[in-house]
Symmetry: C2
Subunit: 155 residues, 2 copies
């Protein structure tokens, strides 16, 4: 299992994104948070997935199948109120670090979040973010995609 070392920030102002790669991402839950199973629809550009996750227990089952756009659209209406819709821009910062910038639409607009990926914890701790970054929300679980799908943007 690979370990990701990331920090997550709000975004004060959008940077120049002309060199960034853009993807349309939609994900939504067919099940409610208290249900015994989690079923998630996810679109990334022209690929679509249905993912089942077992809830609770030590070992959490995960099963995923690629689905067609038609299959996705058949069930998507039932995710209403439990969605994350965003454009994801992936690129490199001037110092070479990889960033993923999410510009949310739908119920979560106008929220924007940016994540930076590091190669070591030392690098992550010593990191000085660029001017366009806002508050560090790395430890704030309210900004998790799944949490926002249900509870919306934190106050």
């Amino acid at each position: 299992m690979s370990k990701e070392i990331e920090r997550k920030f709000l975004v004060s102002s959008l940077p120049d994104l002309s060199e960034a790669k853009k993807a349309v991402v939609r994900q939504g839950y067919l099940t409610a948070p208290d249900d015994s199973t989690e079923l998630r629809l996810r679109q990334k550009n022209d690929t679509y997935f249905l993912t089942l996750k077992g809830v609770g227990g030590l070992v959490r089952v995960e099963r995923e199948a690629e689905i067609t756009a038609d299959q996705f659209e058949t069930f998507w209406p039932e995710t209403e109120g439990r969605r994350v819709e965003k454009e994801r821009y992936t690129g490199h910062l001037p110092d070479g670090l990889l960033f993923e910038l999410d510009v949310f639409s739908g119920d979560l607009a106008p929220l924007r979040l940016v994540e930076v990926e590091f190669t070591s914890e030392e690098q992550a701790k010593g990191y000085v973010p660029p001017d366009w970054f806002g508050a560090d929300v790395t430890a704030d679980t309210r900004y998790k995609n799944k949490t926002m799908a249900i509870y919306g943007v934190p106050d």
Copy 2:
């Protein structure tokens, strides 16, 4: 909406099924009975479906998509303990009436049920079943497929 007039019986002994049409049917639930949504996988011979049903409320949403065998098999293991597996034989009785005979396998074996379809309530009420039929369980909701998927064969 068409109205079905049917009676359901246990089966004392199997009749000659050489003229009947046989179908392999598997259905199973990805969700538990108390969940806010019902997701059902269903196979009939070489066709496979995923069906979502809203739970409760006056209007119950239903959305269904045909899926591939691979997609079916990806999620099927998660229906364990909530399955109906059977061979369905469809044919005509000597008096011309249509019957559907279900021979259950898996957890519900060796249960067998037969349903007869009528064109009027009078015909249904006056019906004298053939010798190979057992007890009439038309009104016994424990013999519904969905109920048996969860609770098993009635004692």
